[in-house]
Structures are given as structure tokens and as C-alpha cells.
Symmetry: C2
Subunit: 367 residues, 2 copies
DNA sequence: CTGAAAGCGCTTACAG
DNA sequence: CTGAAAGCGCTTACAG
């Protein structure tokens, strides 16, 4: 790492504010607070008007003569005044900010979802406070309650916990709440989900239609709702085709590469090795692709969630895609509808998935 | 989309607070504010103690008898009190929140960077307010100033604008600021960059070492600092090898697939077609991979930024990787050092890149 | 060990 | 058209 020191710069203010020593309220020195920023009171003093008049100008309210307005504007410019929204918020009761709690900011699946939530928030003049639960229920709760303490107007939560009763007082106190991707636990609240069951069932049926009968399922930990739903879809498709599932074909657990690799190797090398694998999410798919690529005998694969460059692999990876941006948009719109006073019963909104065939899911059974 | 209405739930509070009608201050009804949450004043009244004693208990300060503390705790539980950090912040002068402004929350390059910033913020007890500039200078400024109005303690900015003088009053007023990935324009501030020049130079030298002389460069728009630096690295490597650059080999512009595709096709089909391409960032690389895959004659490729599954393509994609997480971590640590009072001159910190060879960059020139 | 008063920087509800 | 007073829900600086 090269560290290059550069020319020192002054961090003193350059806007000339308060060179007149205008603080007149006799309070203790507050240099450390907000870097001693000018307040409306300072502006009022400089412009020779009342506090309320400054407030009117700053908020573009009617009822100020052009001349008065000009004098206030000049004082604002001269002092470099910027309204403290933190104080405004305290008085108004709405913070114009919402919280988004997801599993991991670094997971590409959540990028488009976050961006969609941000766009809706922006359209409503709200800022987005973002945090990762790291799939840890305690961390989720800690983060959610910290957001509530900041009095965010609403929360979009991709839950890690399976018990959200800790949110009941907050919801009762008026915090709008929408769950996404997974349902809340032990409370009733709005939730937007992809059709995990239907998507997985369709994906597995696709493999069956291409001649497979020994099909593996590798999914996320069983405490995660989507893992269970997708497994249920797998079992339904198998049952529909009259295939009995050998339990050695099914593996749920953490989605780190080592665990998934072991699971895949095991079901590909047993006495009744699978000829196809259904991967329960994007992380599983990526690892299974690697395992399959290292083997000589072809293995069919369908993955839940689309992944970048899936079309450029050989064969291309067939996936059950969910629309992450639409999940985020739908959830955020629902949230702002709550904030606008819509007070219907909590709803479950389920978005469809889409099978994208690219080759890996159309391979016939080997051997 | 299936919309399933579920059982209605009551949104009334379940914690039994204020069933005694304890609001005693005679103010106007404030039902709409924060959903009528209990305040320290309510807790104090219920526990029969002073406001300051409640504050002591809530903040874990010493000097409260066990008995008093117990009474206060009981009142807190009974009322479902949660401290309003929004009010606290107004008094304390620090919001314990930082802003992160990046180009696009949906871009996978920024995922690990955001997560790293979040972890550092979390370690310092701060929340992260996140927003996308959409590569629009006006939107960047709007977002940054909105964050300043909320009085975030600091800002981590991946700039879209090339003039940041609008930030001078804010920095002077004490807002800690660190730029990442690209330097600020027309102001002096801390900045953390990857070594774009050196990385590109090394990547192009790698292609030259494998026999290429006609090498294309496709990069981002020329107003983006990294695009210029990487092009400079390309030119330096070519000059080092005594190769004169034909300007038809160089293309800068937006990184949408159509533009990049046209640029790539043009330099691969001209009178002196290139035998290798250096791609200026992850989005360019992805499109160039697609273009190359559709052609019969092999083309060597080195891309700036690593991409997922790059190792599974054939050939694997050779890249100049930057450490996005380290960029974020370094910037955030620098930010909190500013907030802890370190008042040195602004510094430029440059992080090294790493060449990862996977095949595409080691192909010999075709034809 | 405890609490009343003043204040953070705004907006609200009035009164002129 | 304009502004003084009270208040949002906390913390600070004191005084007992």
C-alpha cells in the first residue's frame, strides 16, 4: 500500500459565518456540536427578523414580502445555513427514513432488491438506512430495534429470526413493517414472497420431463422458510411423477462452498447416484456448477435464482429466476401505502418465478 | 401474482401502556406523532421519580439505588418505553450515523464495499444511510446534502460529480468525509483508490508478454477518473513495449451492453483488427466475453475487476482484481479516525491490484 | 443518591 | 405579513 501525504488543507470554515460573534443566547460554548453550525436563530438575528419568518422562507411557505424574503436569503447564504433536519424531525414526528434489514449487503441477490427499495423511498422523499443481519437472529433484532429507536417511519425486513414478537410494540406504536423474501415468525404482517414452492416444483418437473428420476436437492438451512418451501416443491414434483425420494438425495444446511461441495459429491457418488441436481439458491448453484465441471460424467442442473454469466457457461445454467427488483419494489410500495394510512389487514403477496432454459437442465440422464 | 388476504390483526398496542391516561402535561393531543409512544416523562411519572433518574437508568449511569432502578425498570417494561434516539441525537450533537453514496446499490462491485463500510460503522456503533447517485452529479449532490441536513457524522462517497466545492461548508462545519474509488473534484479530502494505472499497465503488459501487439482498450466514460487512469496504464504499457497505439483500438464511453458491443465488434473487424482486448471494468468485461464467445477466432482478454464464475468460463477470464472490501474498510476506518479527532492533512491511500491468470489473458495472438 | 431548570434546533398554534 | 411562546423528547450543568 502506498500512502502519499498531500498538501495540508485548512479545515476552517470558508463561508465567513459568525465572524460577528453573533451567538447571543448565553449558552455554554458548543464548538463540538455539529461543528458550531449556524441555526435559524442566527439567521434571524442577522436578517433582523423573527425565527418564524426564517422558518417560512426555509420551507417556502407563503406570506413573506419579497423584500423580507431577500434579506433572509442573504443571511442564509452569508452564514452557510443548512436546516437541521434532525431537529425538524423531532418536532414533526416523521423521520422520512425507512430501514432495510437484509441478510448480507454483499450478496448480489440483494443488490437489485435494495436499489428498488431505494427508488421507491426516494420517490417518497425518504432516505434508506441499510443493515445486514448476517443471518443471525440476535443481530437482526438488535438492528431492527436500533432502527426503531431512531424512529424510522417503516421497516422492510428480510428476516433471519423466526420469532418477531419483539416487533409487536413497535408495530403497535405505528412503525410500518413489510417482510420480504421470507415470512415473519409468530406475528401477522405484510409479506412479499416469490413462489418458492411453485418455482421449485416446476424446475424439478422440468428435469423429470427430460428423463431424470434420481434427482438431488441441495438447499439452505431448514430454519429458512424458502429452503423448506423449495424442498416441498421438489417433493411435490417427485410425487407428481410417482418417484419415491431416496433421502440420500436430499441435503439441507449452510450454503458455504465446503458444505455444498461435500453434499454434491456424496449424492453423485453413492450407490444410486443422482443424474441431476436441483440447487436451492444462487450460492448453492455456483458451487454445484464447480463440482459438476470437475467431473467427467455430465450431470443435469437447475438452480433457483439467476446468476450472472449463467448463459456463457457450457452448458448454460438453467434456472428458476425470481425478480428481485420487483420483490423490493412491491414491498416498498406496500410500506408507503401503510404510511399513507391504508389500514387493511396484513396481506401475503406472492410473485411468480420464471424458468429460464439454457442447457444444463435439458441434459439427459448420463449412463 | 396471487394476493391472498389473511386474517385481520389488530394494530392496537398490546403492552398495556397508558391505560391510566397518564399524560399530564396538558399539551395538545399528539396521537399522530410516533404513534403516541411513551416518553421518559411518562416513565418518570409512573415510577414516581424525576426525569433525570429515568435518564440515568436508561443510560446505565451510576448513582441510582437498586430499589429506584427497579421501579424505573418496571415502569419502562409496563409502558413499553424505547428511548427516542432522534431526540437524544439533537442534544448530543452526534447522530451516530454515516452516509454512503455510491453509484448503484445494484452493482455487485459495491456489495462487498458496502458491507465492509457497514461492519466498520457497526463496530463504532453507527448506522449506515445508503444511496445511489446513478452516476448523476446532480443526484449525488442532492443526496449528499440531504445526508448533511440529517447531520450524519461522516460521509463515504464514491463520486459521480467532478466538482465537490459544494461540500466545503459541510466539511468546514465538521462533517468527516472520505472519497473512495475515485478522487474528489476541486477540493482536497481523504481518498482511497485502487491502483488503476498500475493495474491496467500490468494487465496490458501481460497481454504483450503473450505476444500481442494489437491490443484494444474499452473503458468507461472519460469524465470518470478510473477510466482515464486505466487508459493511461494501457498507454504506458504499450509505450514500454515500443508499440504505437492505433486510436481505432481505443474506445471510451458508457458501459451499457450495446455501446460496448459495438466498440468491441468495431475493433475486432477493422483493417488492423486487435488480437486482444483490455476491458476497463466489470460491466465491460461481461459484454466483451459475450462478444468473443460468439466469434470463431479466439481473442485474448484481460478485464479490470474480478467477476463471479470467471474461473468456470472457457477459457477462464484473466482479470486485474481490486479488493473492494478492503477499499470500503480502509475508507471507513479513515472516516472514524477523522471523527476521533485525528486532524492530519488529507491523504491519498492507494491499494494494490492483483493479476489473476485464468486462461483468457494467456491466449496467443490468433491468425 | 436525586431532580428542577435550561437547552439542542426546529415547528406548531396563536395572537397581533 | 410577522413574531413570541411553547413544545418535540431527550441531555447537560447544577444544586441540593
Amino acid at each position: 500500500m502506498a500512502e502519499t501525504a498531500r498538501t495540508p488543507v485548512s479545515r476552517l470554515r470558508t463561508d465567513g459565518s459568525r465572524t460577528d460573534g453573533s451567538r447571543t443566547d448565553g449558552t455554554a460554548d458548543s464548538k463540538s456540536r455539529y461543528g458550531n453550525r449556524p441555526t435559524m436563530k442566527d439567521v434571524a438575528a442577522r436578517a433582523g427578523v423573527g425565527l418564524k419568518t426564517v422558518s417560512r422562507v426555509v420551507n417556502g411557505e407563503a406570506g413573506v414580502t419579497p423584500d423580507t424574503e431577500r434579506r433572509v436569503q442573504e443571511a442564509i447564504e452569508a452564514l452557510g445555513f443548512r436546516r437541521n433536519d434532525s431537529a425538524r424531525v423531532l418536532r414533526k414526528g416523521r423521520t422520512a427514513s425507512i430501514g432495510l434489514v437484509l441478510e448480507d449487503l454483499a450478496d448480489p441477490f440483494y443488490g437489485p432488491l435494495s436499489r428498488a427499495v431505494e427508488e421507491v423511498a426516494r420517490a417518497h422523499g425518504a432516505l434508506l438506512i441499510n443493515g445486514s443481519s448476517a443471518e443471525d437472529p440476535d443481530r437482526e433484532q438488535e438492528l431492527v430495534l436500533a432502527l426503531c429507536a431512531r424512529r424510522v417511519d417503516g421497516l422492510v425486513i428480510i428476516p433471519a429470526a423466526d420469532d418477531h414478537r419483539y416487533l409487536e410494540p413497535e408495530i403497535a406504536a405505528g412503525v410500518a413493517t413489510v417482510f420480504v423474501d421470507r415470512p415473519p415468525g409468530r406475528i401477522d404482517a405484510d409479506v412479499v414472497l416469490s413462489d418458492s414452492f411453485g418455482g421449485a416444483r416446476g424446475g424439478v418437473a422440468h428435469l423429470i420431463a427430460h428423463g431424470h428420476r434420481r434427482i438431488g436437492f441441495i438447499g439452505d438451512q431448514p430454519r429458512i422458510h424458502t429452503a423448506i418451501e423449495r424442498l416441498r416443491g421438489y417433493r411435490a414434483a417427485m410425487a407428481d411423477a410417482g418417484i419415491e425420494v431416496d433421502e440420500s438425495w436430499v441435503s439441507l444446511g449452510p450454503t458455504d462452498p465446503e458444505r455444498v461441495r461435500r453434499a454434491a459429491e456424496a449424492m453423485l457418488t453413492g450407490v444410486a447416484p443422482v443424474t441431476a441436481v436441483f440447487a436451492g439458491n444462487n450460492r448453492v448453484t455456483v458451487t454445484v456448477v464447480r463440482v459438476i465441471a470437475a467431473r467427467t460424467r455430465p450431470v443435469a442442473l437447475v438452480g433457483f435464482d439467476d446468476i450472472e454469466l449463467a448463459d456463457l457457461l457450457s452448458p448454460g445454467v438453467t434456472v428458476v429466476a425470481q425478480d428481485a427488483a420487483r420483490l423490493g419494489r412491491t414491498a416498498a410500495e406496500r410500506l408507503f401505502r401503510q404510511l399513507d394510512g391504508a389500514s387493511g389487514a396484513p396481506e401475503l403477496i406472492e410473485l411468480p418465478t420464471r424458468l429460464i432454459t439454457r442447457g444444463s437442465g435439458e441434459l439427459p440422464p448420463a449412463g
